[in-house]
Subunit: 361 residues, 2 copies
């Protein structure tokens, strides 16, 4: 299926220097796709000249001028209300207008979420969109959500996250009934705070393939395909994991460069260490999906390099092929009448909710 | 200073097989200390025979019979009310009676916390005890609390955790004014949920060396000496980190045993990998401190081996030497009149609170 992506080329720590070459890598790898490069036309055209053979792909890309850029540390309100012609906003608008299947940006997470929510609106039955990314596990990959869009969640929100996460895992991993775990501090049903305990009830009553409670280590064990938690816990866990991985990597580097002997050992170990690194390469996992919206938005890590940004583009294309928002909407519609019978019913669509200050990923 | 530890010799996955040899290692390393070995006398005496030269230390150890054992998966209520002569309960009683400076157990975390709280009571000004452990960081060590004793916290609780954590870091790291960070999903004061925002206010107004908000990765960067969070977030973060470290370790092992070539590389890299492993050896960090009680209790990891259990014993001895509970009480007393002027005053001592189901560490 031919997919068109709207790419915010100005976002991220590196802007077009990374986004543009990644966009062309994507076009070369996926001959059915096309891209709309959104950003300041002069800047983009200048950068284009440096990309070998870009002319041969001229039927599959276009430049869409957007005069403004949302800064990485810009307050959400200023990005949402003050910059209506930002590359980020215009990329999301293109999805809303049906000109692109999905928008991808490496820009400010909070601003992107606010814009996506304002422009696209949430799906029926979904109170709040969630951010989901994949973490490597001993058995493959674990989809974890929410990662910071929602700091205060009700049990019904956590149930919605479970449904959205299962739909995403199903779309990207091609699994029929992905298993869903509820992040908690013990396996027993009596563990956790009231919200988590009620969420467990709702998930058990749903038709999801609900495994039960999982603990922090289960994310990396790969106990379930999906792990559901509130955005505070998810964000802290994601960042702590990044911090630990970084500490271990730099610790290994230090040990191997301690003396002439350890440097020699490093030479021998290099191919192994490289293959190890490839295995857990976070760039392969780059791209957080904004779920629960009437459209597809994928957020790349701000510091993504070309390979990492390419991963985010591929993810957006696959979600588009799988028609993810419609699948979530269908599932929610099937679930809604059932949920009216439980204690903590899913409330209606509430786009009026204030957007919570979202963290940078 | 001569310290006496009461050791629950029956607790943990391995019981006396690990706790007894570790106790004698401790006695040999610290000639001023003595221990009370608590457990089923017959079992302990039989095991004692296997420890070389235990007779030479006979003036520094005694066996205190306790007829019952709390199982690792025993419900808290049954351990607290049904087993008044458990090795765990008796060890804590010895602290209460002033016969030991501190109790150490590798048993069931929830049961130990409930017993410690019931027998020892909390210090004036402390609503709830917290569990604190140290995590390795790029700059040394980070003290993180709470790790699971309190799943629902108010801002005042988080302030109390900050004070207790600072006192512990000061006692064990011999730092004058350890820095304290508040775990959040962004650095700015506007980030996080209401509880965390109010806690930030309280911490800023306190006389602690408060750094401000920190994020998950700051734990391993070592941005602050102490990181404060509620028990749900702390527990998930701790376990996720354990899970990630395990995944990385087994990933490295797999890569190095893939073929004859990689095995050869492993031979060369072995000394480096060993020194790397030593550096982050979790056994050196074993021992979670129960803070805020009128007495010292240290909880060892259930699966601790001899070296790890020894670390927990050393930690208990150092907290005893530093008279940690009195230091926390003094600090709380100095802070209390000041806190009466802020919005969210620290409420009085409330030992009547139900003990929340605590996780296994």
């Amino acid at each position: 299926m031919a997919i068109t992506l709207a790419i915010d080329c100005m976002g991220g720590d590196h802007g077009p220097q990374v986004t543009l070459p990644a966009a062309f890598d994507f076009l070369r790898q996926d001959p059915t796709c096309s891209v709309i490069l959104v950003g300041q036309e002069g800047v983009l055209r200048a950068r284009l000249a440096g990309i070998a053979g870009y002319e041969t792909l001229s039927t599959r890309f276009s430049i869409h001028h957007a005069s403004e850029v949302v800064a990485m540390d810009e307050p959400v309100a200023s990005a949402l209300r003050g910059k209506k012609d930002s590359s980020m906003r215009v990329a999301v608008n293109l999805v809303k207008e049906g000109k692109a299947h999905a928008a991808v940006s490496a820009g400010n997470t909070g601003a992107l979420m606010a814009i996506a929510r304002f422009v696209l609106k949430t799906l029926p039955g979904i109170d709040r969109p969630a951010i989901c990314t994949v973490m490597p596990s001993q058995r493959g990959a674990t989809y974890v959500l929410d990662l910071g869009a929602n700091v205060d969640c009700t049990a019904a929100h956590l149930l919605q996250f479970g449904i959205m996460g299962a739909m995403l895992a199903s779309a990207l991993e091609h699994k029929d009934r992905p298993s869903v775990g509820l992040l908690n501090i013990g396996e027993e049903n009596i563990k956790g705070n009231d919200v988590v305990k009620s969420a467990g009830e709702l998930l058990r009553q749903s038709d999801l393939n609900f495994f039960g409670n999982v603990e922090g280590n289960d994310i990396f064990k790969g106990t379930t395909d999906v792990v559901v938690c509130d955005g505070f816990v998810g964000n802290v866990t994601l960042k702590a994991s990044e911090g630990l991985a970084q500490m271990i990597a730099s610790g290994l580097k230090e040990e191997f460069s301690r003396s002439i002997f350890t440097r020699l050992a490093a030479l021998f170990a290099l191919p192994v260490l490289k293959s190890f690194r490839r295995r857990f390469d976070h760039r392969r996992y780059n791209g957080a999906s904004f779920l629960g919206l009437k459209g597809i938005v994928v957020k790349s890590h701000g510091s993504a390099d070309q390979l990492a940004f390419l991963s985010a583009l591929k993810k957006a294309a696959e979600e588009s092929r799988q028609d993810l928002p419609n699948k979530i909407a269908t599932r929610m519609a099937a679930l809604l009448p059932h949920l009216l019978h439980v204690n903590d019913p899913v409330t209606g669509n509430s786009n009026a909710d204030a957007v919570s200050p979202a963290p940078t990923l």
